[in-house]
Amino acid sequence: MLEKALKGSKAYWIWVFALLGIIAVGFSFYLKQLDFGLGITGMSRDVTWGFYIAQFTFLVGVAASAVMLVIPYYLHNYKAFGRITIMGEFLAIASVIMCILFIVADLGQPMRVLNVLLYPTPHSMLFWDMLVLSGYLVINLVVGWNVLEAERNSVPPAKWLKPLIYLSVPWAISIHTVTAFLYCGLPGRGFWLTAILAPRFLASAFAAGPAFLIILCLIVRKVTNFDPGKEQIQSLSKVVVYGSCANMFFFLCEVFVVMYSQIPEHMDHLQYLFFGLHGHGILVPWMWTAMVLIVSGIILLLIPKARQNESVLAVACVFTFIGIWIDKGMGMVAGGFVPNPLHEVNEYFPTFAEVMIGIAVYATGFLILTMLYKVFVGVKDELAA
């Protein structure tokens, strides 16, 4: 089936080469990072994780959100999603690959990465994260590819796929839970030290992931002959708004606990993010923008008339996606490191080189996604013909 990704229109190849161009530019910055060290980023002794790890965290969520298609289709027999479940699984594949690339980009000694396998350390959450992420990648590759191949051959999917599909449900939950455990098990970091972190990660993932999938569906409808379907898109929009509301609810629970108890180690971080601390507040405008975007997204999605208009829906999805991206991809990681353990405020903001490397990773993900979707749409075309 892969050969379908090698045949395409002029527009397809322009897009593919544009992505390759971006990857090449970003890679040149990565070579600079390899040469100089991680000092070319905005990270410091106090804020030791930044843009890369934040993107990793956000994308684990996007990957996990494929489960929002798998559950209705396979567990509740909601047939409509059968049309787009593979799109969700392919999005998960591209997302997990981006996660792995962001982790590698963040390592000080990337050539030693296999030490994680050479000295397996089960008391480190990073070890488990590696296991669940690679497992999830394999599951989605095997399931997505085989289901699509069966569809192409007009036969039902092989029986052995069923247990794997069921397994993918708890597995998807596990990847984002373990990712939250990287943060929320650390004794001295008050901002992350909350049991709501994993549930909140999942809720925001189930909003941002399907929101992105809706945008992808609209693009696929526009640029190919395949229509993911009006009903499918509408159902997804309800998933987005449930996820987004749950995310805000969990967030407000956290805000209440932290602000009402007023324990400084927990409160200072929220104060830093939303109001600034000791005169430092580089992320304040970002955080408020995120809140406005997420809340506007929820309002637009809650009103049936607005949601049913696909142009409004697209705007609402973009708002939700960007809002959660800022909250999780900028605030969540840096916010946990400011103030530092000695209660000093040293801020973080990514550098140009860091962002360029990040964009290149995203371009790689889009390239993989484009090719996988090209295969998917190609099969659909073949069946329609």
């Binding site: 990270m43 397996p120 008391h123």
Partner: protein, 265 residues
């Protein structure tokens, strides 16, 4: 309570047996995995001479009454020279093993509007606490940071992948990362101690290399009696005597990390 992380470690050790099979990817059997993990600490342990100093659990007592800016400066300098610590221009990339901070930053949970006058401006040294229950060791995915039998929390600079998980885990900000090549910024290289490369984490090692040849830590030597180093496991040791006679506090005791550095205030 105190042994929580360690007992989790044991439990985790049992589960690694089961997971050994996963390392097949690497062509390893589970026995190999265990053998190589055992090797880890051996590689990074210094060869002991006959006069090596040993202890059940190394610890330090900082007597703030004997501290001054000058003494703190001397301790930092002694540490820097002993361990090839670079002096980098970019403050964000700073490497610090022992450094001075004010009371409100050393003990952020114990700040007080009406703090005793003497402590307000006094520089107090901070360093790795060599916790009995170290969160950094728990977090490290490669066992590049590990705890020795005598309580010292060590780094294997050659195994560290530079993920900085230990830095997020440390509640004391005691760890530094080489954001750039440190070698060009070392004023006088001490050939007795390794330099580091970019991309790895480092921190205070309680001068394990000096203890192995019968010497006290460099900062203790330079401290004119303000720092006392010894065996917390020996009731007759000087550190235990000091703790018996003086009220001492530790940094963020409430987190259960059980630090081995005490402060007489």
């Amino acid at each position: 309570m105190e042994n929580n992380r360690r007992s989790f470690l044991k439990f985790a050790g049992v589960s690694v047996l089961g997971l050994g099979s996963l390392s097949l990817l690497d062509g390893l059997t589970s026995e190999d995995v265990i053998a190589s993990s055992g090797q880890a600490s051996a590689e990074a342990t210094y060869k002991k001479t006959a006069n090596a100093l040993t202890a059940k659990r190394w610890g330090m007592v900082v007597d703030t009454k004997k501290l001054s800016g000058r003494i703190c400066h001397k301790m930092e300098k002694a540490c820097r020279e002993a361990h090839n610590i670079p002096e980098l221009e970019n403050k964000k990339h700073e490497i610090k093993w022992i450094w001075e901070a004010h009371y409100n930053h050393v003990f952020p949970g114990k700040t007080d509007e009406f703090l005793v006058e003497r402590l307000k401006e006094l520089p107090i040294p901070v360093l790795c606490n060599h916790c009995a229950n170290p969160p950094c060791v728990q977090a490290c995915p490669t066992q590049a940071t590990f705890q020795r039998e005598d309580g010292i929390v060590m780094m294997d600079f050659h195994r560290c992948i530079g993920c900085r998980f230990c830095m997020a885990a440390c509640p004391y900000g005691s760890r530094s990362f080489n954001f750039e090549d440190p070698r060009s910024a070392i004023a006088h290289e001490n050939k007795e101690f390794p330099t580091r490369m970019k991309g790895v984490v480092e921190k205070c090692n309680f001068c394990a290399e000096r203890l192995a040849v019968g010497k006290q830590p460099a900062c203790v030597e330079a401290s004119k009696g303000a720092l006392v180093f010894g065996d917390l496991g020996d009731p007759q040791s000087e550190v235990r005597q000091l703790l018996k006679e003086n009220y001492a506090i530790r940094r963020k005791q409430n987190l259960g990390t059980n630090p081995s550095v005490y402060y007489i205030v």
